[in-house]
């Protein structure tokens, strides 16, 4: 397994370079006169005859794409990913600063997705065609059919506009003032954990209030997805001979489900989990925008809209890294779930 992991890790830089090359080429094909749009917020700024040339020269947009790419890559190797207009600081610093926000959201979303999704799938699968199964399936169909953008707005409308329970944003202004002016220490950069470590349960509660609506939006779609996969897989495994044998041996249904069915039914779930984790991160683009939360999703969306190319490339690299690492973890988890699978 170690050889497998090492081999996969060695491929990592090649894939990342491929990703950057692709994005870089796409952006540079726009040409220098379009790329200055990143730096010009008012068309009047181009009033002077030489304004365009001046901006192109200032930001080095007139150099050939290969030269620019090599220069950029050289800087990246030195840890300089360029300046982010969206983050108003270096791309790497921006991403590093935003990672905890998005991770916190995505990881907390993952917990209900995996546990509730699997749990509901198991229940549905083991109660096939019974009212419980039908109810869960309706829940899944709604979740799978509603675009997260629409669902997010609905959540906002119900839980904030009407009920006034879960406000948008990251924290209330009062909590942010405490974090800014102290006493407060950023220890893990996960505000929920830091709030506990700082013994500020008021901020913890505030953070949770701000997390619930985005979490619900982000996870509902994947609850639906995971429970559907789990249910199908459960039904398939339930029809296997060894399950019939287990039942014939007189084992209780609980033991049959938990010991013989669930574990085997989880392999397809593990397969889709990799993609799901990446999709959860991608989902933050919508969720962070609707709920006005800081994070990589909102950062990437703003960068793409404003043609902030260094930020776009940086974010793409980050998401590629997540995808590759997640896939690696999924491959490894196959072996752990099913000892018959050997990585070679």
């Amino acid at each position: 397994m170690l050889a497998f992991i090492i081999r996969r890790l060695l491929i990592l830089p090649i894939i990342l370079i491929g990703v950057t090359l692709l994005i870089f080429s796409m952006i540079w094909m726009l040409g220098p006169e379009r790329l200055i749009g990143t730096y010009v917020k008012s068309p009047e700024a181009l009033k002077s005859e030489k304004a365009v040339e001046r901006l192109i020269q200032k930001y080095g947009l007139d150099r050939p794409a290969p030269e620019m790419y090599v220069k950029w890559l050289g800087n990246v190797l030195k840890g300089d990913f360029g300046y982010s207009n969206v983050g108003r600081q270096g791309v790497l610093q921006s991403i590093m600063e935003l990672i905890p926000y998005t991770f916190e959201l995505a990881l907390y979303a993952l917990i209900p997705v995996v546990f509730v999704g699997i749990w509901l799938g198991v229940i549905a699968g083991s109660h096939q065609d019974k009212p419980l199964d039908h109810g869960i399936r309706i829940f899944a169909i709604i979740g799978w059919s509603l675009p997260d953008y629409v669902f997010g707005l609905l959540v906002l409308l119900v839980f904030y506009s009407y009920l006034k329970w879960f406000p948008p944003g990251f924290l209330s202004d009062a909590s942010m003032k405490v974090m800014r002016e102290g006493p407060w220490k950023d220890i893990t950069h996960f505000v929920t954990i830091d709030a506990i470590l700082n013994w500020r349960f008021d901020i913890l509660w505030d953070a949770i209030r701000h997390l619930i609506a985005p979490l619900l939006t982000l996870s509902y779609l994947w609850w639906a997805y995971i429970l559907r996969i789990t249910r199908s897989s459960m039904l398939e495994v339930l029809r296997k001979d060894y399950v019939r044998t287990a039942r014939a041996k007189g084992l209780s249904e609980k033991v049959v489900i938990n010991k013989h069915v669930k574990r085997n039914a989880l392999i397809p779930v593990a397969t889709v989990s990799g993609g799901m984790i990446v999709q959860l991160f991608a989902g933050t683009v919508i969720v962070e925008t609707i709920f006005a939360r800081p994070g990589l999703g909102r950062f990437t969306a703003t960068a793409a809209v404003t043609l902030d190319y260094f930020s776009v490339i940086g974010a793409a690299l980050f998401f590629s890294l997540i995808l590759i690492v997640t896939n690696l973890i999924v491959d490894i988890s196959y072996a752990l779930i099913d000892p018959r699978i050997r990585l070679s």
Binding site: E33, K41, D173, A292
Partner: protein
Amino acid sequence: MQKKLFVLFICLLALTLSAFAAVKDPDTIVNAEYGAPETLDPHAEWDNASGAVINNLYDNLIKYVGETIEFEPMLSTAVPTPENGLLKDNGKTYIFPIRKGVKFHSGNILTPKDIEYTFERGFLADNSSGAVTLIIEAVSGGEFYTVADWFEAYAGMAYSDAVNDDREPTSAEAKAKLIGFYNEVIDPLFVVEGDNFIVNMKDAFAPFLFIIVKYAGWGSIIDSQWCMANGEWDWKADGWWKWHDRTPEESALHMADAGCGPYKLAVWDQTNNMVVMERFDDYWQGPAKTKTLIFKTVEEYSTRKAMLEAGDADLVLVDPIYRYDFDNNPDIEVISGHPRAQVTSIHMGWKVQETSEYIGSGKLDGNGIPADFFTDINVRAGILHAFNYDALIDDLVNGLGKRVPTDLPEGFLGFDPTLPVYEFDLGKAEKAWKAAWGGEVWENGFKLVAMYNAGNEVRQTACEMLKVYVESINPKFQVEVLGVQWPTYLKATREELCPLYIIGWVADYPDAHNFFSTYYHSNGYYGKRHGGEYNDFAKEYLDPIIDVAVKETDVNKRIEMYAELQKILLENYIATPLYMPQGLYVARKWLKGFFPHLLRSSGDRTPEFYYAWKE
């Protein structure tokens, strides 16, 4: 017992409701906007969001009186006029007596030297994305837009030849010229004599005061001692080029505050997309009424709306299409219909590049248009009479627009409401089309591309509306509506590739010159894009009036000149306004003190925060 419980329930309900109706955090005003500031350096900014923040951090030499565009003193104790002798030499010398006892946020005391430093620093920094170009244009009497151009005229060598990529002079001669340029050209422009700050213009430029007045962030006065202590220009002739045309983030003022305005910067939180400002208690006009200002960037309208309804935002940016969303909410105040210093126009290129991909066959054969299609006055008339202006205003912008005769907003010098506007009259349009190009247009038809920047729904629908009406006149007429991305749009308009496109202009300063020069001068931002034949026309009939009017200090004479200019524009179907957008202010009723202003950044939808409070 039941009765008692009922009374208790009612009391609790009333208490709950009163708690909701109470002013939320009366010491803090929260403004939720769409865009985030680009920079807080006054000499590098040129966008609404930055301007809105800078306006609270900095003060200028003069300011507007309330909603008007009349001036009153600010950091200068008098407004220069010919009458008070502070504007002399035929409009070339401005004298500003500087106020005493004004404190910067750093604790430093304002002196006339700070004003001199401010103007020289702005000039020499001349950030290529910033608006200092407006001051350069004014002080040079309209001759230059950049310091680099001015240097080239002085030194006889291009700035890029004098300074290399490492910001070092390329030779001893270049260095001597750079130093000489500051000593001989820039330094004499801005002078301190006693308590007075004096601007010696190269030539008269009537709108100068409009360019540096409060609400023009680039006219903000900065703390010279703070700047020099924080690595900004050291005020020496030798080396000024090191601070020239940097990227905004290279400036010490990019995320800091060196002003003396009513608020000081507490934090610009990039992560959470918000700017927090705290009241400056030593402000020379007395402390502001509200302690804290928070400007949040919230891209999604539904979120902004929900925040406003919940009272978590006191005012929010609302697009005209959502104008009626708050009609039934008793806690929300909506004020609309006030003028904005902006015009949206339909532009017709008189001479498009022959290579343009947007002119089809390039001939009058029904599959395209000739590159000089719009040189014929009848073609322009045919377009302008086929546009349903009222429908556009009523349906597309929910009535938040007003027709104007030429591309000049209401309220500006020279605006004449008695001038006619083009009628939507398909009969007149048909007559014009029949006469166009000696009848050839009517006979052969054409295929015209109408362009807009993708994502702008108003402009898209306006183009589609034009398509419907023009195509209804003659089945041989075809209009293709094309949305292109903003960078492509920018490039295509600049390179004279667009035959017909819709775009707007927001005033940099409230003077007619800013619009007339931009739209109609042969060298104007839009004017020059109309191509060679337009330029010939403009040089003969329009430029002479525009050039003279901008130097004229007698207001009545200027009005006469602009009246003559507008007559020519209308007779020749050169003025092409669609509408002037009108303001929309949406806020909680507990927020008081709003008055709109044409020139304040977001001044149609946010108050002047110094005067705003909650109750």
